[in-house]
């Protein structure tokens, strides 16, 4: 199967009905699994509110209503307000924006694609490159990178986060860097093991005989054939990244205040729980839990259904 895919890709004879049918098959797997559908609905909900956040609330996430701090849900503020009287619903959906839709680089510069997504993307780039080089070249390059990555994996993740964030300071870009550093070793190992398997195939030998450069072989011959497991892994990693982003925010190492970061909202709201206003801590907790659970339901359902399919 891998060979036939490779042939169609390298000869550039992609028949569009075939691609459509594959897409349809993929979607029917999705629709067949109830778990995946539930997950998809939750994830799509958050993507929707994140994309259309400015149209879904009359308030900005920083607007303070001094007359109503720490209020429960009312008709004016449907989810209530936090200790500064900021509307929790708008903070929540702008928080989703930070996770899924925009990466704030500085006060005026924003990149499309959420902070968590960028973290996974950069980790994928670095990890894949390291894994491909290590797996394809072998020898001392492989030995050194793998030993270093082993040592890195032995460091408790939370310690890595603490050190990186304490060193770099709290900002969205640094959250991306932290997620990248923590995620890279795992991806590199996965890609390396896939590469070790694929490089023994005939079409790699054919490419070598043709005299293709190592970079061409790594990125054009090997990588496309290893994409399946990498994509599944990446989906799970998006969940981890959101988890990590929330955790960093909760520890005060995430996006700096006053940005509506879910983790730091919980950390701030936690102080007022025992004082009788739990809303500011409750909603962001619900948000992050539902989004991560949704992503995992989706990934789980897909994996289960595709296994049954085979």
């Amino acid at each position: 199967m891998a060979v036939s895919k490779e042939v169609s890709a390298s000869n550039e004879v992609v028949v569009s009905p075939g691609r459509l049918r594959r897409l349809w098959e993929g979607l029917s797997i999705l629709f067949a699994s109830k778990t995946a559908m539930v997950g998809l609905v939750i994830v799509l909900f958050w993507v929707f509110v994140a994309v259309f956040a400015p149209f879904l609330t009359p308030y900005t996430p920083l607007e303070q209503d001094w007359k109503a701090p720490n209020h429960g849900p009312t008709s004016k503020h449907i989810l209530g307000t936090d200790e500064l009287g900021r509307d929790l619903w708008s903070r929540l959906i702008y928080g989703a924006r930070l996770v899924l839709v925009v990466l704030p680089i500085s006060e005026d510069v924003w990149l499309p694609g959420g902070t968590a997504l960028w973290g996974v993307l950069v980790a994928l780039l670095v990890g894949t490159t390291l894994g491909l080089i290590g797996g394809y070249h072998g020898g001392w390059i492989d030995e050194i990178t793998m030993r270093l990555l082993d040592a890195m994996m032995a460091i408790p993740v939370i310690l890595l986060y603490l050190l990186i964030m304490a060193a770099l300071g709290a900002s969205a870009v640094n959250v991306v860097i932290a997620i990248t550093i923590v995620g890279t070793p795992g991806i590199a190992r996965l890609v390396r093991s896939l590469t070790l398997d694929i490089r023994t195939r005939e079409y790699i030998r054919a490419a070598e005989t043709r005299g293709e450069s190592p970079w061409y072989i790594m990125f054009v011959e090997i990588l496309p054939n290893a994409r399946g497991p990498i994509i599944v892994d990446a989906m799970l990693r998006v969940g981890y990244a959101i988890f990590a982003m929330g955790t960093l925010g909760f520890l005060g190492l995430g996006l700096p205040p006053p940005s509506p970061d879910w983790g730091s909202m919980v950390a701030k709201g936690r102080e007022f729980i025992l004082a009788g206003s739990p809303w500011a801590a409750l909603w962001p907790s619900v948000a992050i839990a539902s989004l991560v659970v949704g992503l995992n339901l989706l990934a789980d359902g897909l994996r289960e259904e595709s296994m049954r399919y085979q």
């Binding site: 304490a166 300071g169 789980d300």
Partner: protein
């Protein structure tokens, strides 16, 4: 096997070395400085410089790393020309030089005179003028390396006594004269069992760290004891019949608890159990008490950890059980007509337990992350909170020691997992 263990042990040492260097470099390169954290914002440059010199923080980073790792007393002893001795009096560490006849000595500078202080034991001292120890160099400058009363080896120069600002945590500044021109703070070094003094609390790291590690171990231990049997049992129940209602409920439920961030689970539990049902306190305040003296405050943190870990182990056990139940030898057992109980308990369970036990050990790495968060959520005075506070304060000694403890636990459990695995599965040989 022995070779394998030795190799893993060397990997542990290598990892610890790399982490300790990384912690030093990272703390160094980061913005903000520890002097401002300790002294506050309203400090004069002179005071800050004096403080940095006394703490040895003005030295280049490789010297500080060397002192941290191997101690500074061997070098200082060479400067003084006398052996140094560390004694503990009323819980405080004191360094003294040992005179040729065995008496313990310290010095101070009074005007142009060098005063030697002899330790007579029980806090009594005897002082005498000790000007014959001045060492005159070729430029005619008289200088002397000796031990001062704040556990430094210092260099005094005649006629160049400096103003000293001594900062005592909780008391404030003390200004005095008779200060030296160079300081070497005395310590034994990490590899000789002395992680130094915390800059944040002013107390020895080893003491606070011991209590913190103990508290964290209590928390993790109780959670572990609760989780293991429950998760293995539920996992096997779920895995008995793949795709059944029971399986779906257990594995989806387990997944939900596992992937939810610890702080969210903690908040939910506080809201439900502490605020709404008012059953147990929602925060842990131990004061001087040990955690087991207030078991009601332990309930929520333990419950949070349990929920997080439960789902993870449950799912691994389930996957392993499903695989075993599909294997030919179980089918054979059924076809032979063995009773159901016997097949499950005698044939399936033993093989199904192999994977989870090793994976649990590998999971310790993640578990520690969970503990840090749980400790912060509930204000539990454990290792994680200590590390977080130290990292934010740039308290290098505390941070290094805590990091070393974490790395040892992480790598150590992996080694244990590998060893257990070879016993459970004799087909595996490590060479």
């Amino acid at each position: 096997m022995a070779k394998f263990i030795v190799r893993r042990f060397l990997l542990l040492l290598l990892t610890m070395f790399l982490v300790s260097v990384a912690v030093f470099l990272i703390t160094e390169s980061s913005p903000g400085n520890v002097a401002r954290n300790v002294l506050g914002a309203f400090v004069t440059p002179d005071q800050e410089a004096s403080f940095l010199a006394q703490m040895g923080l003005d030295k280049p980073i490789y010297i500080r790393y060397l002192y941290w790792l191997t101690g500074s007393d061997w070098l200082a002893s060479r400067k003084v020309g006398l052996p140094l001795k560390r004694i503990t009096r009323e819980g405080f560490v004191e360094w003294w030089a040992v005179r040729e006849d065995g008496a313990l000595l310290r010095w101070k500078l009074q005007g142009e005179d060098l005063i030697a202080i002899v330790n007579l034991g029980d806090g009594f001292v005897n002082e005498y003028v000790n000007n014959e120890r001045w060492h005159v160099d070729e430029k005619g400058v008289s200088s002397f390396w000796g031990v001062d009363s704040q556990n430094h080896v210092v260099k005094w120069e005649k006629g160049r006594d400096q103003k000293v600002w001594t900062f005592v945590i909780g008391t404030g500044w003390m200004e005095s004269s008779g200060g030296p021109v160079q300081y070497i703070p005395l310590k034994k070094g990490f590899i000789r069992g002395d992680p130094g003094v915390s800059l944040r609390t002013g107390r020895p790291v080893a003491k606070s760290l011991f209590i913190r590690v103990r508290n964290s171990l209590v928390l993790a231990g109780i959670a572990f004891v609760l989780v293991m049997p429950l998760a293995l049992l539920l996992g096997m129940l779920a895995g008995l019949k793949e795709g059944s209602i029971r399986d779906r409920v257990l594995s989806v439920g387990g997944m939900m608890f596992t992937v939810t961030p610890e702080f969210a689970t903690g908040i939910f539990l506080i809201l439900i159990v502490a605020v709404w049902l008012k059953l147990v306190p929602g925060a842990t305040v131990f004061g001087e008490k040990a955690p087991w003296e207030r078991p009601d405050m332990l309930i929520l943190p333990v419950l949070t950890l349990t929920l997080i870990e439960l789902g993870y182990i449950l799912r691994i056990t389930r996957a392993s059980m499903v695989e075993v139940m599909k294997s030919p030898y179980i089918r054979t057992a059924f076809l032979k007509g063995l009773p159901y109980r016997r097949i499950i308990f005698k044939h399936a369970v033993r093989n199904a337990l192999m994977a989870p036990i090793t994976v649990i050990m590998l999971h310790v790495n993640w578990l520690m992350g969970g503990i840090v968060i749980v400790e912060v959520v509930f204000g539990y005075p454990g290792l994680g909170k200590y590390l977080l506070d130290s990292a934010l304060f740039k308290d290098i000694n505390a941070l290094e020691a805590g990091a070393m403890v974490l790395v040892t636990i992480a790598v150590g459990t992996q080694l244990v997992a590998d060893i257990i695995y070879t016993f459970l599965n004799p087909r595996i040989r490590y060479t």
